[in-house]
């Protein structure tokens, strides 16, 4: 948990490797879906778990991490099946949460922004990742990237977001 909260991915990879096989076998057997779809569902479960931990939406103590991951993965599959009109399960079984269900296709502007992120150089890439994806506080980012203080990081973040908009060819705000 601590490793995930600090933006490290090794713990997630270890979790994924530990439970992937069991999850895909269970889901493929229970919902009659192929192994690839089951594997996709488990990846999405890991991503949703990461986001919930990073932004303090995960409440430890309400069950094991494995149970949590399996529930997210199951909900993802149920929603996917409903959207594809293949499922025979009731709609009320689905999760209400937004981030553990299959995402809609990205819009053109969202795709442009996604591609523009890969064109960012340092320190913008790290700052944007740490702040928006890992949910790290400014003070931690300052310490990690050896900035004098968090004010300097804040100003740099503003410049980085402007750069991102330029790269994505999004009109800058007046």
């Amino acid at each position: 948990m601590k490793s995930i909260q600090s933006g490290r991915e090794e713990g997630l990879i270890a979790l994924y490797k530990s439970h992937r096989q069991e999850f895909t076998s269970w889901v493929a057997g229970t919902f009659q879906v192929d192994q690839n779809l089951a594997a996709d569902a488990f990846q999405e479960a890991i991503l949703a778990f990461r986001q919930n931990v990073a932004f303090d939406k995960y409440q430890p103590g309400s069950g094991s991490i494995k149970t949590y991951l399996f529930a997210i993965g199951k909900n993802w599959i149920l929603t996917y099946l409903k959207r594809r009109k293949l499922g025979k399960y009731k709609a009320e079984e689905m999760a209400e949460s937004v981030n553990d269900t299959p995402k809609q296709e990205l819009s053109g502007r969202q795709l442009g922004i996604r591609d523009a992120v890969s064109k960012l150089t340092e320190p913008c890439l790290s700052i944007i990742r740490y702040f928006y994806y890992d949910g790290l506080p400014m003070g931690v980012i300052a310490q990690r990237l050896k900035y004098k203080n968090e004010k300097v990081v804040k100003s740099q973040k503003v410049r980085c977001m402007q750069k991102l908009k330029e790269l994505a060819m999004v009109p800058l705000q007046k």
Partner: protein, 231 residues
């Protein structure tokens, strides 16, 4: 939005409905968040897929090795050998797991400040950030001959870790630690411990981790956690 009460929320939604500029600003902010998340999610998915592929390859190797051993040594003495091999392999699995859990390439903290001063710098970090470790190592190596600074040695050593040449990485980190450069000496000490972990030299790894954990610093918590897991 979650912090607004119902009245505030209703007023806000009304303002958004009446002000197209505000509505566009909100939509842009949402698209930025989704685009950023999608980029890093995609990168993480690729890592997850790679990890499961490498695990499958590893399992295939183990199965092949075990069947060979059983075929050649169908005696009690050979059984003892198999047990020994199994124990050894599990030890290796544990250090592999810990290494992959704790090793993460150090971020580029140099390029931004000095980009205008040295043209080769961008190239080296371009390779580095793209995970092109061989080209990055060659570029940092070239920089070492052009500069008295220590950072090319440090980043070269990180490249060597990614290339699994831990001996060369160790030499680089030792040089960085000797330089006393405050930006890199502490991370170099941490990575030095990891070079020993990767080679299953646990005694030396422990010694360095104890040294790191005995004084305050960015790596103290990681060192304590890793020490605990090694034990």
């Amino acid at each position: 939005m979650n912090r607004m009460d119902e009245g505030e929320r209703s007023d806000f939604e009304k303002s958004v409905g009446e002000d197209p500029d505000l509505a566009e600003a909100l939509a842009l902010q949402r698209d930025l968040m989704i685009g950023i998340q999608s980029h890093f999610d995609q990168a993480l998915k690729e890592k997850l897929q790679t990890s499961s592929k490498s695990e499958s390859n590893g399992q295939a190797k183990v199965v092949k090795m075990q069947s060979k051993v059983i075929w050649r040594w169908a005696s009690a003495a050979a059984l003892a050998l198999v047990v020994g091999v199994f124990y050894f392999m599990n030890q290796g699995d544990k250090t592999d797991r810990l290494y992959s859990q704790y090793f993460e390439s150090f971020p580029n903290i140099v390029e931004f400040q000095q980009r205008d001063e040295q043209t080769n710098l961008s190239e080296a970090f371009f390779f580095y950030q793209n995970g092109d470790w061989e080209d990055a190592a060659a570029a940092f190596d070239a920089l070492q001959s052009q500069s008295d600074e220590i950072y090319p040695v440090f980043y070269d050593a990180i490249c060597q870790m990614n290339l699994t040449d831990y001996q060369q990485a160790e030499e680089g980190f030792m040089e960085v630690i000797s330089s006393g450069d405050s930006r890199f000496a502490a991370p170099a000490t941490w990575y030095l411990a990891l070079t020993h972990l990767a080679r299953e030299e646990l005694t030396r790894c422990r010694e360095i981790l104890i040294e790191i954990s005995s004084s305050p610093g960015n790596y103290r918590d990681d060192a304590l956690n890793l020490l605990e897991e090694i034990e």
